[in-house]
């Protein structure tokens, strides 16, 4: 039986091997992906991101445990976890340590955990994470939790991949200026303040709430010269305010599971919202478009490199170093030379 068929049959070894082929970008991996693609599009993809050390892995562990426990009462579902950790820029090696926090999930055949190294990508995911997720989707996992590299301010690829993005913060990491900067907070569908048993949790929560109120246009009542006025939000909002998703801010303690049921509920609510508002289709479109764009870039780049005369690239770098060419001129030369 071929690999793709075995994956559809639920063969876990075939699944694991397919993931490696896809991750390594082999011809077999591409063929498996093409065969599996028609079977994708059913899973709820949930991204978990945030700074390193905020407790993402522990939270994923608790979340998966909770969902599996409610699964026995007939609610949810088989779960796949994709955990990305950084590749060393110097040696190409990586330590993938997210499984350490997920030992509670061992022995549950309804959970499949796969660690990935970022392999040089800078957006918080590996370049093949989207493809790996597709294979798991086709294999029938209904909920896929994608944990990013410990992400700072601009590792926001996850928002393009996931239907629902959970941003995890912890007390004591920054003041309210950090919260109004652009980047990772803007992509949150759900905000979690983990380690909520630590001091300072109110401050973190207040800063996040303040930031959200600025960015999410909802009608607000303000006192203006002694008169209560309602400030309407910016135009282009649906008249029905239930059609606007306002990210909830939740407190959790991943070590003992406090707040995790609420997080699971918020994730389910977000899914219902996406479906009822028509945003699910919209996000699917963005997601596939982003993937197509990335693949196209990679393919064009590979194609360019294979068509370049030997040594042309090295020569261009040399010309830059000697200031004989500007970077723009070098690009022009390389593109023309390859054509």
């Amino acid at each position: 039986m071929d690999l793709a068929a075995a994956v559809l049959e639920g063969d876990r070894l075939a699944l694991a091997r397919s993931l490696s082929q896809v991750e390594n970008g082999t011809a077999q991996g591409k063929s498996v992906l093409s065969q599996l693609f028609p079977h994708t599009g059913n899973a709820h993809l949930v991204g978990i991101t945030g700074t390193s050390g905020t407790g993402k892995s522990s939270l994923v562990n608790q979340l998966a445990r909770h969902c599996r426990r409610s699964a026995q009462q007939g609610v949810a579902r088989s779960i796949a976890i994709v955990a990305v950790d950084p590749t060393s820029p110097f040696t190409g090696g990586a330590i993938l340590g997210d499984r350490i926090r997920m030992r509670d999930l061992a022995g549950d055949s309804g959970v499949f955990i796969r660690s990935m190294a970022s392999r040089g990508s800078l957006g918080g995911l590996a370049s093949t994470t989207a493809a790996v997720v597709q294979v798991l989707d086709a294999a029938g996992y209904e909920l896929i939790l994608i944990e990013t590299v410990g992400a700072g301010q601009s590792e926001i690829d996850i928002a393009r991949l996931a239907h629902t993005t959970v941003v995890v913060e912890a007390p004591g990491l920054g003041d309210d200026i950090q919260a109004i900067k652009a980047g990772i907070l803007e992509i949150a569908d759900i905000l979690v303040v983990n380690k909520a048993d630590l001091p300072g949790v109110e401050n973190t929560e207040r800063a996040l709430r303040g930031s959200l109120n600025l960015s999410h246009p909802t009608p607000r009542r303000v006192m203006h010269h002694g008169k209560l006025e309602v400030v309407e939000p910016q135009p282009e909002l649906p008249a029905d305010s239930s059609q606007v998703w306002s990210p909830p801010i939740l407190r959790t303690v991943a070590l003992d599971g406090t707040g995790v049921p609420d997080l699971a509920k918020a994730i389910a609510d977000h899914r219902s919202y996406l479906e009822s508002s028509g945003s699910w289709q919209q996000r699917e479109r963005w997601r596939l478009e982003a993937e197509l764009e990335q693949l196209l870039q990679n393919t064009l780049m590979d194609g360019l490199q294979s068509r370049l005369p030997a040594g042309a690239y090295k020569q261009a770098v040399e010309d830059l170093l000697q200031r004989r060419l500007s970077p723009y001129q070098a690009v022009e030369m390389l593109v023309d030379g390859a054509g």
């Binding site: 070894l13 490696s20 090696g93 340590g97």
Partner: protein, 135 residues
């Protein structure tokens, strides 16, 4: 794209908490360009085999200081076989008495690296073993 990285699972079966050796090996393999899945302390053979399957690893390093290697190692091999992963190479670190070494090697362990081993020796051994398995 098209990279073929060696993936190694480092696991510590048994109940003792001495994981320094495992961490040193994990770091050395990382610095040798491998992808190391580190699973932490107190793993059962079942957990190790399950992780090896999901992660599709090429090799497993077991750090054992408890003296239970003659029970744990055969069990890991048995589970790997049951999962269709006979190709996975297994190596050991920790404290293994000399008289057990021949039997462990006979079971299929590719190397046993006690305290004082230079990291180059196991890095080379893993590379060679995994490479011959791929061909």
């Amino acid at each position: 794209m098209g990279e073929q990285k060696i993936r190694v699972l480092i696991a510590k079966p048994g109940l003792d908490g001495h994981d320094r050796g495992a961490k040193v090996v994990a770091r050395a393999l990382r610095d040798a360009g491998m992808e190391v899945i580190y699973t932490g302390l107190r793993q059962t053979p079942e957990m190790i085999a399950e992780a090896a399957l999901q992660e599709d690893v090429d090799a497993i390093g077991l750090s054992i200081l408890s003296g239970a290697h003659m029970a744990l190692v055969p069990r890991v091999f048995e589970l790997l076989k049951a999962n269709g992963q006979e190709h996975v190479k297994v190596f050991l670190g920790g404290i293994v008495p000399d008289e057990d070494v021949p039997q462990l090697l006979k079971m299929g362990v590719i190397g046993i690296y006690g305290p004082g081993t230079l990291s180059d020796s196991y890095i080379d051994d893993i590379r060679k073993a995994v490479h011959t398995a791929h061909v």
